[in-house]
């Protein structure tokens, strides 16, 4: 193995990248664009959900409770009706998410044994929002009514919740570090596999192989530029995330660097594996997108919680490098934990990378 020859291949590859506007756009523009998209578009914080109130007799108590609903952070009353013969139609026409139905004798019922009954109709079509409303409705109505009749609230339990790692509950803090997993995977697996498949498709790989270069030198030379590109993108995301969304690394940056290196190693291994299987760029692209990016984004816990998936998909998730990297990147940035807690995912990624590269290099040699 000669360093000089590896460097030559690497230099050639860098030139390829610099001359191709598409790859450059993917490397430089895409990460920043995705950062803003994910940072702004995926916000789980629902407030002022549009609701309506059905108040057959507008007594003071009823009105006070309705005002309290409107004043709450979660709901905004967009209309009051005196009767709702077809509630579903109200939901369809006005796009409301809940209807609070007070009985005609609400004020009187409050003072009678048995109390008053309030019915809350919830639009369950968005199950997330539906669950949120269902959990919040009862405690809110109870305390609003007790306030309305001037009675104190029973406080049997006092739940003091402390929210760790992301106390302001900003979705950007969750998605921005996670985005590193997606972008690094894209650079390392997608671009690498396309770059190698392109040489195969054009026949230039054959030319390289008959040269004095050894296969391992070709592979290393091709991988090194992408390794640096991926690392560059990692830094780019961290810097942009800090500037735009105030994402600060709580833990040790060197642990994050180590984790990123082993993750890039594993992802390059995937790219290499794909490029040994396919012969054409298009197939490389489909495999990298379909078999790598999609599961990496959807099954790794980047957006959707893995615990809620069926067991079979959870098993798939445990096999993905992105799952382990998310643990590392969120662990260091949000939780501020270090090697003591993260040695396991880091070693898993290292072993995955080792296995993938070893297998691909062997396969590459055989095929020549």
């Amino acid at each position: 193995m000669s360093l000089r020859r590896i460097a030559t291949i690497a230099r050639k590859e860098v030139r390829h990248v610099l001359r191709d506007w598409q790859t450059l756009a993917v490397v430089l523009v895409m990460p920043v664009m995705m950062l803003f998209l994910y940072g702004y578009a995926l916000n789980a914080d629902s407030r002022d959900i549009p609701v309506m109130v059905e108040l057959p007799s507008p007594t003071p108590e009823g009105r006070i409770v309705a005002e309290k609903i409107d004043a709450s952070r979660l709901f905004a009353v967009v209309g009051t009706v005196s009767s709702a013969p077809d509630p579903a139609e109200l939901f369809r026409r006005h796009g409301i998410r809940a209807l609070f139905r007070f009985p005609p004798g609400f004020s009187g019922d409050l003072r009678r044994p048995g109390g008053a009954g309030i019915q809350v109709l919830i639009d369950g079509s968005d199950p997330n929002l539906g669950t949120l409303i269902r959990n919040a409705a009862e405690p809110m109505l109870l305390s609003a009514t007790l306030d309305a009749i001037g009675s104190g609230q029973p406080r049997v339990l006092d739940l003091r919740t402390s929210i760790l790692y992301n106390p302001d509950q900003r979705s950007a803090l969750f998605f921005v570090p996670g985005l590193m997993a997606v972008i690094l995977l894209m650079i390392s697996a997608l671009l690498t596999s396309i770059a190698i498949a392109r040489e195969k498709e054009l026949g230039t790989m054959g030319q390289l192989l008959v040269s004095p270069l050894r296969p391992i030198e070709i592979i290393l030379g091709k991988l090194i530029p992408y390794f640096f590109l991926a690392a560059l993108d990692g830094v780019l995301i961290l810097a942009a995330g800090r500037a735009a969304f105030g994402v600060v690394i709580a833990g040790n940056p060197w642990v994050l660097a180590l984790g990123s290196l082993v993750y890039i190693f594993a992802a390059l291994g995937i790219g290499l594996l794909i490029s040994t299987i396919v012969r054409r760029q298009q197939h490389a692209m489909f495999m990298a997108l379909g078999a790598t990016m999609m599961p990496g984004v959807l099954l790794s816990g980047f957006i959707f919680p893995v615990e809620s998936m069926p067991v079979a998909l959870q098993a798939v998730s445990r096999a993905l490098p992105a799952t382990y990297f998310l643990e590392i990147v969120r662990g260091v940035i949000l939780k501020g934990i270090g090697l003591r807690e993260l040695w396991a995912p880091i070693s898993v990624l290292f072993l995955q990378g080792l296995a993938l590269t070893a297998f691909s290099v062997r396969k590459f040699k055989v095929k020549l």
């Binding site: 997330n128 949120l132 969750f174």
Partner: protein, 389 residues
């Protein structure tokens, strides 16, 4: 006209001959639908919990039992100290940690002691404290899990108070002047799949129509056959429409297949009207086919076409409300989404499926899709014409 029909006929033949492509066209979306239907769940299930019980009395044990037996939680056992609990959170073993303080039983007794006058409970002081630590990384899951836990704990507390009051001969109604009865419409079990699967159908239809139209034109460009067709008497506009028409049909077929899977496999009810659905889908496909044609004027190779459409799709999908409600986005981003056809079709399909909405409720969304579609399509055709001419 006959020339125009010839183009369509040629395109159909080409599609039929490409056996691998045909298989990919049908099998891939179906496979995606099946996997995604299960994977894209925003439900919060199996939240792992651990407890550090410093009290250890019968009341705290009873409370823990209630949490333990609740199917929403996975109980991961007891921690011996606060540090241990925090360590479990750090290592990601649990998402929720409960700390029951040493004086819990005493405080609970005080807070729920019935008094015969005034408010019939406690003395208006604080209740018995319980500390809850939440892994707040994912704001969505954290919020829902926290809501579940406080609901479970408060229910337990209400039952406890009620039994204490009853034992003291005080009517418990004085503490609870209202009973709240919640009823969930349209999706009574709050199943995530009922919401996500129609969304996935939108995704598939978009991918198939935009990607395949783009590919099919760019392929002819790459092979040089587009030049040959352009020198024939066929007008460029006819070429474009002839190219797009078969994919319109394929899009419709894909949609029907996706809807059948949604209904038969995932059990999502379709409460709308099929004719209205077809009308809305046609309006939508103006845009998605337009994007495909527009892409073909920008890209020289199929690889470029794929990248460009991927860019488009990523933008459109994230700003469509597919994952999280559009209402939660900041104002200026929400304004951007008005120009996003995927957003409108996503809303239309979901509301048709679950709420049974039709033209009467969705005409604005329909008009928006037609407006966007006409703009995109005419721009694409103009651009194609100019390049061709």
């Amino acid at each position: 006209m006959t020339l125009f029909l010839t183009v369509i006929w040629k395109e159909f033949r080409q599609i039929r001959r490409d056996k691998t492509g045909l298989r990919l066209m049908i099998a891939l979306p179906l496979a995606q639908m099946l996997v995604l239907g299960y994977a894209l769940t925003t439900e919060v299930k199996n939240t792992s919990v651990a407890v550090f019980d410093r009290d250890g009395g019968p009341m705290s044990r009873d409370l823990i039992r209630v949490v333990e037996s609740n199917s929403l939680f996975r109980f991961r056992g007891h921690a011996g100290s606060e540090e241990e609990l925090r360590g479990m959170l750090d290592r990601g073993l649990i998402k929720l940690g409960m700390i029951i303080p040493a004086d819990f039983s005493r405080e609970l007794e005080r807070a729920s002691r019935p008094v015969p006058y005034g408010p019939p409970y406690g003395t208006g002081m604080d209740g018995a404290g319980i500390r809850i630590m939440v892994d707040g990384q994912d704001a969505n899951s954290a919020g829902v899990a926290r809501g579940y836990l406080s609901a479970v704990l408060n229910q337990w507390a209400a039952a406890h108070l009620r039994s204490r009051l009853e034992a003291a001969g005080i009517s418990p109604d004085r503490v609870r002047p209202v009973s709240v009865d919640t009823k969930v419409l349209f999706n009574p079990l709050l199943k995530s799949s009922w919401y996500m699967v129609p969304g996935i159908a939108v995704l598939l239809v978009t991918m198939v129509t935009a990607l395949l139209t783009g590919f099919s034109i760019v392929r002819e460009k790459e092979a040089g056959t587009l030049e040959q067709i352009l020198v024939t008497p066929i007008k460029p506009i006819h070429i474009v429409i002839g190219k797009a028409a078969p994919f319109f049909l394929i899009g419709v077929v894909e949609l029907i297949v996706a809807l059948s899977i949604a209904q038969v496999w995932f059990g999502v009810p379709f409460r709308g009207n099929y004719a209205a659905l077809l009308a809305f889908s046609s309006a939508y496909m103006l845009s998605s086919l337009g994007i495909g044609i527009l892409t073909s004027t920008l890209a020289r190779t199929q690889q470029q076409a794929l990248f460009i459409i991927w860019f488009f799709l990523l933008f459109f999908l994230l700003l469509s409300g597919f994952f999280m409600p559009v209402e939660n986005m900041p104002g200026w981003v929400r304004t951007l989404t008005y120009a996003n056809p995927v957003r409108w079709f996503m809303q239309v399909l979901r509301e048709m499926f679950l709420k049974g909405s039709g033209f009467a409720e969705l005409w604005r969304e329909g008009l928006a899709m037609i407006a966007i579609g006409v703009c995109v399509l005419s721009f694409a055709v103009l651009k194609f014409n100019r390049k061709a001419g």
